[in-house]
Symmetry: C2
Subunit: 312 residues, 2 copies
Amino acid sequence: MTGRIVISEVGPRDGLQSIAAIMPTEAKKAWIAAEAGAGVREIEVGSFVPARILPQLADTAELVAFARSLPGLTVAALVPNLKGALAAVEAGAHKITLPLSVSETHSQKNLRRSHAEVLDEVRAIAEHLRSLPAARRPRFEGGLSTAFGCTLEGPVPTAQVLRLGEALLAAGADEVGLADTTGYANPTMVRERVTRLREVVGEDCFAGLHLHNTRGLGLANVLAGLEVGVTTFDSSLGGLGGCPFAPGASGNVVTEDLVFMLQSMGLDTGIDLPRLLEVRAVVKAALPGEPLYGFTPEAGLPLGFKQAEAGS
Amino acid sequence: MTGRIVISEVGPRDGLQSIAAIMPTEAKKAWIAAEAGAGVREIEVGSFVPARILPQLADTAELVAFARSLPGLTVAALVPNLKGALAAVEAGAHKITLPLSVSETHSQKNLRRSHAEVLDEVRAIAEHLRSLPAARRPRFEGGLSTAFGCTLEGPVPTAQVLRLGEALLAAGADEVGLADTTGYANPTMVRERVTRLREVVGEDCFAGLHLHNTRGLGLANVLAGLEVGVTTFDSSLGGLGGCPFAPGASGNVVTEDLVFMLQSMGLDTGIDLPRLLEVRAVVKAALPGEPLYGFTPEAGLPLGFKQAEAGS
């Protein structure tokens, strides 16, 4: 548990897709720029879904283009299918993530596709990406959602997670990540599923963890992930977000609390925490009335707190 | 990380001392009985402090006597000094805890005593306890508060924690615990301080961890404690409480979330979680207008959740 941890901010996508208000494009740009300015090195800026499904994210192409202008930032976007992937490539995304729900029931409800249909889509995207020159080819992650349980199916077997992880790579994804879409994960599950998936797909093809704080275990699950070697974690500024298609599945891990934990443990995130805390004001101003979460922002930093220094 | 974990409910003491409302004695009894009925095996029912300082806890003697009537329950109480310890023994407490603040500044503000004066008190209490027949002699814990940092002093050195832990045992305490009064702990600190304190005082003399969730790290810190062998954790139903004398030090670990984490990891707490969740209504009814916290109570238990069964 040493070295650099990558925080992938997913608020502009996962956060904004789950609330009714539509944040103006200029405000999103200010948010993205402020967070990149605080040292966040990867931001998922939106999702290439039809605007009629998620009008909140209709400006994703413009945001990708803008975010690419920020030095050192990895610009990520979600894509549900080949059409979305083509648009993401066109816009210049560095990384695209296609979610595959381990629960087939959730897959049908979320993406309106069976596992087989999603894997067909992955194959078509991979084929297209192979045809591109390397400089224009984004990294392609398959994101295993509901990987720790499903609000519709209940428990989800580890074997199914592993099988679909392998299937994503076989279909042409570069890497696979695990998402606790529903807040069902616990530290024991995280350790076991991450370890076994990394054994199956290989360490280099494990993308990271997307954890929710639905039942308050978000940071404990991050700790379990750290302990088995995970170095990339998704989170959302102010805990904005969740999954609008999985009932009760609210509550992304709060970026501010996550960064506080990592920094206080002496792990380097490259993020300036006081500056990160200031980004809340940008989001707050653009989303009046929308609650922002987080314990560290409310309590403030400890007296004498030093960033990225061992805790004792 | 297997076997039985003891949850020590501190809400009736740590929770109630930090809010202005005074809960009626009969409501406290209903709370204590309901929680014992849900399987909680240790409850800190109050504090033997002068009623003029904490009128909320003026009925502690009556609560100790009542709680002793509940089968299998360990009845704990806080005592600030010899006078309090005498009252606790008289009432029949099974366990008494005297806090010693590692930060001397906090010690002066909280107990209005220096370290030396607190240790004198410990010696006087231990001497009195030795004079009692074994059946009437409570277990005597010295609780090291502000053990991970202080809102008044900032960082608190590990060496000082170890020195005071040894001093408490030398003065006659049976065991020592660590309390993150201020919410400054992180998993790295928890692992290191618990491990080193146990080396110094011996495993049998380490009482457990009292953690706060002030910056959202409560359960991650519990996980770190579990990993280094801690089996007793304090928490507060609905997250009631904190320390009224340490500014900004709000937010006990929420009992319901803690039990959910442990049970979902397959660790046995002896607690029936659905019944525990019902206890909130008892507290809520007696403290109208007082916020209760907790993620699991809001989200509900996962579909297909089974208690004390491995997570995968």
